[in-house]
Symmetry: C2
DNA sequence: AAAAAACTTGAATATTTATTCATTATGGGA
DNA sequence: TCCCATAATGAATAAATATTCAAGTTTTTT
């Protein structure tokens, strides 16, 4: 895995956990984690990740991860998915989601469609989904990502 | 109504119908409509309207209206609302939404919560909602706004 | 394994966007 | 009506962000 990937993952991680209001600020947060890059590269990364700068309550601006809800019909798929979700566990760097019988394919497809950076692929059976995360992605990162995709899971996980 | 309001409405209207990729471009689109302002003012307007600049398919950037789906529990309210929606008609600059019995308050509340610029207020009975649009807002503008709030209405309206 | 193509990056710079500062308009109270 | 306070605006400028160009890397092809 190249350094770029680590940087991209770290950027997503930082942005989802803190309010960042400029590239310069983000740049120094990356530096704190030992990732030294220039503003030019960061600008390209943010474009690639489709990170948005939005206005934050009249005062300043913050960067925000792209909204995961632009897929047509997403709302329906989402409540269906939340309904069928049972649990998630991790072992050997893999995530295993248990679902109600028959729900696995549609939940996996939802994840595939939003194509989050942290999860490189899924494999669905009937009531089980195997999640293959990127290297260096923590369990909490995966969980955060799932909640980003299906907000209603927040109450069901962790 | 001051000119500022007209400008804000026009900005939302333009952005929802065209791809605009810079303030300068938007500025000249406003000019075409007889609205002459400076970039400074536009920058403030966009901040006020919480319009976002997002990356558009690796190539460039576009401006986008704020997502209307950040209200917690919105997804559920939304499918509920779509379910209860029957029709919308206009008369004397007012919009009248008919709903299934009992649905009006929750649909109206959804509209109020997202607080779209184009609709200054709602009044809900049991199966009827009165929509009070801003001056100079067209029926189509109101419909577009409703669809922004409740995407599932797209198939039900117009 | 060499050559070609494609990708990644930083430095410098161009471009774009936000803010400051001064000015003018607008909207209540006395 | 006259103040006063608040809001809106433009010009200039500061600040932030995107891109160009050249160089270095990695990947693919032959």
């Amino acid at each position: 895995m190249g350094n770029r990937t680590e940087r991209l993952l770290t950027i997503r991680n930082i942005i989802s956990s803190k309010k960042v209001s400029s590239q310069e600020e983000l740049l120094s947060l990356l530096e704190e984690k030992g990732l030294n890059y220039t503003q030019a590269t960061l600008s390209r990364d943010l474009k690639f990740l489709k990170v948005n700068k939005i206005s934050d309550n009249e005062k300043g601006y913050i960067y925000e991860l792209p909204d995961q809800h632009n897929v047509p019909g997403h709302e329906l798929a989402e409540s269906y998915a939340a309904q069928g979700f049972v649990s998630i566990k991790f072992a050997n760097k893999l995530g295993v989601i248990k679902t109600l019988p028959g729900y696995a394919p549609s939940i996996a497809s939802l994840i595939d469609q939003t194509n989050p950076f942290e999860i490189i692929g899924t494999l669905a059976g009937d009531d089980t989904i195997l999640l293959i995360p990127h290297e260096n992605v923590s369990e909490q990162d995966v969980i955060n990502t799932l909640v980003l995709i299906i907000p209603e899971l927040k109450s069901k996980i962790k």
